[in-house]
Symmetry: C2
Subunit: 328 residues, 2 copies
DNA sequence: TATTTCTACTAAAACGTATTAGTAAAGATA
DNA sequence: TATCTTTACTAATACGTTTTAGTAGAAATA
């Protein structure tokens, strides 16, 4: 069905080179006559020629594809983020090969390998833990790499992120201002740097204000099943609590669900979420939050990556995007 | 950095064929001696050989990639759906080249062309309107195509979907049962078949029960800006309304936001959404809904597509997945 | 008229792999 | 010892492009 340049050339009684040159708008520079150019162009149009991208990439070394590696394409942060990325890249004639790691380093490694094999021209990565080796590998292969959302301090890459510490501090101040003098922190039990930064800012705040630190660590594994129970348990034990700060929106949602399901026992203290959610402004209690501005985040990632691709790999830098405090 | 088979062969003083055969576990069938096999294997391991997928695909005709074309990877239906698809395909050693059409047929056509050029082995498509030609093109190119969520009746493809009419009818019956005798329908102003089916079932229901049909059509363009106003306006004009049926969840969310923002004027009739949402069970008023079971949907899509890829293109069939009515 | 320069192309090599037909050497058979 | 098999490989071709060096013929120059 799909004709190749070779076939087209035979059918037109010209050489493959001629056809290729014409197709790639190099007729003029290769001194192909206008007549022949037209003849080729018309025929190509007529048979509906579609280039074989694989062969093309093999010959040129360019795949026009970039890899996007997120934690979970289905969640309310990465999904919309991915959409922005795709839109921005579409304009530059790039396409996206994406994959979700689900936080599993082995998945992440497989994905990176696959993308290197596919000869993506650059990779946009939200790393899992234990991914240093593979990030170095990408760099060794001279494939531009931009890391976002979190990073490994041990690997020197371009890194686009929000200021987690500062944002977390803003959150604490806000809670304090509206009267919470004993709010607790609910976070995920992992050493993802961005989570640690959020937690540390809270700890620091506690120290400064002499507030007692109350932290619940939940594990990402079977969060749905075990998380709710431990959260309920923890809250009912810590009766002095007068506010909750969730270090990410899915924890906040979990919190809402578990606290809600305890009928009767209506808690009435403020909840705060790191990361907004489409429906947070419809809920009561009202949920204030830190919002990561997705579009600037995506724009910066794409801009930095494309620059690396165009101009060659440069000295790694950090790009900090400031967050918004949404009071509700 | 990345060594090729050719280089490896030279460095080992053997032929390219030998290296290739060993790498592809065909040493035995090609009667390569165990010793040489080991030698090659060790060396390949040592230099960290990574095959060039492009060259490989060019030679074998297999890309191990499938294309996934959705409307919006960032939304709460397609995002999680995509995650399921990816997971299922990962197990079969396939990867995903995805793209969002945003409902724009021209985007969709570009995406399809790109995927054909990339030699994806199959395409999973949620079509936009006016995409018949390009769907036929995919079929002409002998690339397996499975369409989901919506289809064009004019093109014969495998089609995985829920029964929109029947589900919509279930929704109407539910609303009727809980006492709504005058509920209206809010839908999108487009001729997407699944939306039409939902609307038609409502109309049919109206006829059967002699309920007056009240329908508001909103346009997808600048929904966010204009939609809220027209919705508020419509609801306040139709004072007899005692329930609202939204034909999709983003409309329902829009509805919630616009109705909510009218302070004071608290409406207290039931809302029903076609498509669930992560947070619907946390809202009040409680939102009942039709839930499309994402996992079965994704499983069926993937299964059908892989079968087509394996066994060759077969006569198009429809696969209907039944929905759940979630009462809240 | 002999040489140079243009014109309008084409031949050939390259990208990195898979695959099939072929082959030299050793071993088995008669 | 002459022929057939088997062993252990390799040479050659193909996949579909891009790109560079080359070339035959015409036109211009000397």
């Amino acid at each position: 069905m799909a004709k190749s340049i070779k076939e087209i050339a035979q059918e037109l009684n010209v050489s493959k080179s001629t056809v290729s040159l014409v197709i790639n708008h190099k007729a003029e520079q290769a001194r192909i006559s206008k007549e022949l150019e037209r003849r080729v162009l018309d025929y190509v149009e007529k048979v509906g020629y579609k280039p074989n991208s694989l062969a093309k990439s093999l010959a040129t070394g360019r795949s026009n594809t970039i890899g996007l590696i997120v934690e979970n394409i289905g969640d309310s942060f990465f999904g919309p983020f991915a959409l922005y990325v795709e839109e921005l890249l579409r304009k530059k004639n790039y396409h996206v090969l994406y994959s979700s790691t689900l936080g599993d380093p082995q998945n992440a490694r497989d994905i990176i390998d696959f993308m290197l094999e596919k000869k993506v021209e650059g990779i946009l990565l939200a790393p899992t833990v234990n991914l240093d080796e593979h990030q170095r590998k990408v760099l060794e292969y001279k494939v531009p790499l931009v890391v976002f959302d979190r990073n490994s301090p041990e690997v020197a890459t371009h890194y686009v992120h929000i200021d987690n510490g500062e944002s977390s501090r803003k959150a604490c101040l806000h809670l304090h201002e509206i009267g919470c003098k004993n709010f607790g922190l609910i976070t995920i039990d992992s050493d993802q740097p961005q989570m640690l930064a959020r937690k540390n800012a809270y700890l620091q705040f506690c120290e400064e204000t002499s507030m007692q630190a109350r932290i619940l660590h939940l594990s990402y594994q079977n969060l749905r099943q075990k998380g709710m129970a431990s959260l309920q348990n923890w809250v009912s034990k810590n009766t002095e609590l007068d506010g909750l700060f969730f270090t990410t929106n899915y924890l906040c949602i979990l919190g809402l669900k578990s606290l809600r399901s305890e009928e009767g026992k209506n808690f009435d203290f403020p909840l705060f979420s790191f990361d907004d959610h489409e429906l947070f402004d419809l809920l009561n209690p009202k949920i204030s939050c830190i919002r990561q501005p997705l579009e600037p985040l995506a724009k910066t990632c794409v801009k930095v990556l494309l620059k690396e691709i165009d101009r060659g790999i440069s000295i790694p830098r950090e790009y900090v995007i400031s967050t918004d405090l949404i009071k509700r």
